[in-house]
């Protein structure tokens, strides 16, 4: 399995390769990024569920 930094380097290289896309295509990608960012911003934080007690949740043996 490759080292994490090698995977990150490859990912960064792939991202840099996106430079070569036509500008309108990059704007379209940015629009998708924008929509995703807005969805993330408006996403509500789910409160952590209470820990399961002895009688609830969890797997039974």
């Amino acid at each position: 399995m490759p080292e994490p930094h090698e995977r990150l380097d490859r990912q960064a290289a792939w991202q840099r390769s996106r430079r070569e896309l036509p500008w309108p295509e990059k704007i379209r990608l940015a629009l998708k990024l924008r929509e995703a960012a807005l969805r993330l911003r408006s996403a509500k934080t789910v409160p952590p569920s209470p820990p399961a007690g002895p009688s609830g949740g969890g797997s039974q043996p």
Partner: protein, 166 residues
Amino acid sequence: MARLLNEMKGAGVVSDYALFGATAQMRYTEPVATLDVDVLVVVPRPDRLDVLASLYEFCRRAGFLPEGEAVRVGAWPLQLVPTWDPLTREAVAQADTVDYEGVALRVVGAAHLALIALSVGRAKDCARILALLESGSVTTSEIAALAARHGLEERWQSFAARFLDA
């Protein structure tokens, strides 16, 4: 958006315009996240108290309504920013005209984008300068020369010492 901007120019509502900020940066770099499209505008009467009123009115008549500080054009909020100093005026005057899917669109060039980012100086502006340098669209000597012409040498030296002199 490109058509709207060209119509504003044709009608004389703005003397000239040019995209800057993240959307302009993306001509040279990989796509980056941005929430709006920034456009520098040269207005015929910059001395007016509300310099953007006639621009908003033009957009409204064209069917594009204000949304906060911006005008909604399709999916994008369009931020119209009047030029505020000799650097931004020069950036518009020397902007590139590019063919954006069949429509002419004015866009600030890489060196002026970098220098405007330097003059504003937020963290994301520093990242923009580094991204432009990494893309090879502008060199440190080009930025240094432009910085010297606009009185930003010290700021450039400080940026270079912090981010480039490893």
